[in-house]
């Protein structure tokens, strides 16, 4: 590669922009997959919230590796039936989760006391059967639970996930605050991204450490002032429309025969998994 085409090291502004854009991109990716015509997309959001949370609980309770592996397999099949491609699963959940969990579980292979099965060549570190087992438990469990969580979000519009939380008796004020928070998360991500983009467009070279810290603090400070100012304006707008502190939700969800069948299947599967995995 020639000197001219060599990529410059990315600076602080660019890296922060990458993170902010990554969060916005993920939101857009979820918006696209929720509209695909797959199995989970057709179900009532309450069924998905209750069913998938039951499966996550079953994964958390499982005490043997075959059950955890079977649950990961089930999550993969449900993803395929919902038209979520393995490439999307890999890039969004599996690789990131595996790298993070394997880094944490790796040392346990050598540190967990138990029956020594082999020793690492050259280093002589003991690998124990219990260490291998506990690392496998952690990786399978975390992957399976993360995949079920991914299925919920990538097949259900966020507003519906929130409304369905009422089925779990989450207080209505919390549901409303969560919904409004989500809406303004996107706005503030966009605001932060624009602030950094504007600063990048008028900055030549890289910023020194002190300037980077001052820029981060000033950006957060401006964002804080904007958020609180906006909350005042939103409040006035709500008041103008008759808001008096009481919040209500429209609940137009209707359960069909398919929903009842799916709910029964998911909950029974979770119960069987808990029994087999005990």
């Amino acid at each position: 590669m020639s000197r001219l085409t060599k990529r410059r090291p990315r600076g602080y502004l660019e890296r922060t922009l990458d993170v902010l854009h990554g969060a916005i991109d993920r939101t857009l990716a979820a918006e696209l997959t929720v509209s695909r015509r797959g199995l989970l997309q057709r179900l009532d959001p309450r069924v998905k919230v209750v069913g998938l949370l039951s499966l996550i609980a079953a994964v958390a309770l499982a005490r043997n590796a075959p059950t955890m592996a079977a649950m990961l397999g089930l999550a993969t099949i449900l993803a395929a039936l919902s038209r979520l491609t393995p490439a999307l699963l890999l890039s969004t959940v599996w690789i990131g989760t595996f790298v993070f969990t394997a880094a944490l579980a790796g040392p346990a292979i050598f540190l967990t006391p138990g029956r020594v099965t082999l020793r690492l060549p050259l280093l002589g570190w003991p690998v124990t059967a219990q260490g291998l087992t506990t690392a496998l438990y952690l990786i399978l469990r975390v992957e399976a639970a993360a995949t079920f969580g991914f299925l919920l979000v990538f097949t259900t519009p966020w507003a519906h996930v929130l409304k369905a939380l009422r089925a779990l008796r989450v207080p209505v004020v919390v549901v409303v605050v969560l919904g409004m928070t989500y809406r303004y998360v996107l706005l503030l991500l966009e605001s932060a991204s624009e602030m950094f983009e504007a600063r990048r467009s008028r900055t030549v070279g890289s910023l020194a450490g002190t300037d980077r810290r001052r820029l981060a603090a000033a950006s957060v400070g401006v964002l804080l002032s904007k958020a609180l100012h906006l909350s005042g304006e939103v409040f006035l707008a709500m008041q103008a429309r008759g808001f008096r502190g009481e919040v209500y939700l429209l609940d137009e969800f209707r359960m069909t025969a398919l929903d009842w069948t799916a709910l029964g299947s998911l909950v029974v599967t979770a119960a069987v998994a808990i029994w087999v995995g005990r």
Binding site: P9, Y12, T16, A23, R26, T27, A57, V59, A60, V93, T101, A108, P113, A129, Q130, T134, Y137, L138, R141, V142, A145, A146, G149, L152, V153, V173, V177, L178, T181, Y182, R183, Y184, V185, L188, L189, R202, T203, V204, G205, S206, A208, G209, D211, R213, R214, A216, A217, V220, G221, L223, L224, S225, A227, L228, S231, G232, V234, F235, M238, G245
Partner: protein
């Protein structure tokens, strides 16, 4: 510090949800009575702000970067009730929507970062800021130390939750079912990372934003300022720097050798030879509720104690006869090594000192 699903047992998760619930309830009641109709928009916007702040890279001295939680800032601007709710809601959005932190572990994450973080941050901030003016430098130092203390307190809670898992949950073969590391590994592993990078990131963010607000929007600091905090007569700081925080760190460093005044060894840090020495055996028994230690050192301790010989055994270099001097030097060497390691990693990651930036227009 965001615990994903699968690291904690369901029983632990349930207990931590139950632990967080009273704080959520009390915080909601307190803030509802204070805000009433303004509750929904204010909490929503502040939670959205907390969420976005968690994504910011905070540049640290030495060139590296870290992520902050923003909990101390939330506690300083909104007070502990608002902060507990706003941070918990931001964590819920992260867990449900971004898969960052588990759904079953949401109670644990909210308790560690939302509740413990907010209360520690608020307590430290009020304690150190005292009755100083809103624009005083003391508030800036108080904010930085509040951020540092809050993140480390939250990390300690997280480490303890991790560390109790292998004691409580194992399969028939003895393999841990959830987080596999005991307290002796989980606590130091978590605390080293948080006492350096993450704690520093929170300190830089909180102190920096409070300094910014002191100059541009001081009214936001009034809510939690205490009885005498509304005296704005003090002059604005010309240019807030991190110097007072480094001075505080230096004071802590100088205070470290107080350890030489503590007699005996720390509980559980006995050498294998201590089990054979009658005087040491008596000291161990006295520190262990009069329970006599085994006649010989445990086999595992005996075997593993020779695996690694630290360059400064018992904090005293071999070439120094005085243990006190050795202890002092070891403390300074340890801190220096951490700073050196951070600088080295930053340098290798490409964070070498850049040429001075030139801004072409405006600020």
């Amino acid at each position: 510090m965001h615990i994903p699903d699968g690291y904690l047992s369901p029983a632990t998760c349930a207990a931590l949800y139950a632990g967080a619930a009273p704080f959520w309830y009390v915080a909601l009641r307190r803030i509802r009575s204070a805000l009433h109709t303004r509750l929904v928009p204010l909490l929503s916007l502040f939670a959205a702000f907390s969420f976005v702040v968690m994504m910011f890279n905070i540049p640290l001295p030495g060139g590296s970067t870290g992520h902050a939680v923003g909990v101390a800032l939330a506690a300083i601007v909104l007070g502990p009730s608002g902060s507990i709710l706003a941070v918990s809601i931001a964590l819920a959005i992260q867990a449900f929507f971004f898969g960052d932190g588990g759904i079953t572990a949401l109670g644990a994450n909210s308790l560690n970062m939302g509740v413990v973080g907010s209360l520690v941050a608020f307590g430290v901030y009020r304690l150190i800021a005292g009755r100083s003016a809103l624009t005083s430098r003391r508030r800036f130092v108080a904010a930085g130390l509040a951020g540092y203390a809050a993140v480390n307190a939250a990390a300690f809670f997280t480490a303890v939750e991790f560390g109790i898992q292998p004691m409580l949950y194992q399969d028939a073969s003895g393999a841990p079912l959830y987080c596999p590391y005991p307290l002796s590994i989980a606590v130091p592993a978590m605390m080293i990372g948080h006492m350096t990078v993450a704690g520093l990131a929170e300190m830089v963010l909180t102190a920096g934003v409070v300094a910014y607000l002191q100059r541009s929007d001081v009214g936001l600091l009034r809510r939690t300022a205490g009885p005498a905090g509304d005296d704005d007569s003090a002059p604005l700081p010309e240019r807030a720097t991190l110097r007072p925080l480094w001075i505080a760190l230096g004071v802590l460093l100088v205070l470290t050798p107080l350890g030489v005044l503590a007699a005996g060894s720390a509980w559980g840090e006995w050498a294998p030879s201590a089990f054979g020495d009658p005087a040491s055996r008596q000291a161990i028994a006295a520190a262990s509720l009069d329970r006599q230690p085994p006649a010989r050192a445990p086999r595992g301790l005996d075997r593993l104690s020779t695996v690694w010989t630290a360059p400064f055994p018992d904090y005293a270099p071999r070439f120094l006869r005085s243990a006190t001097i050795g202890y002092l030097l070891s403390a300074m060497f340890g801190v220096g090594l951490v700073i050196l390691a951070v600088t080295a990693v930053a340098w290798m990651a490409g964070g070498r000192k850049p040429p001075d930036a030139v801004e072409t227009a405006g600020t």
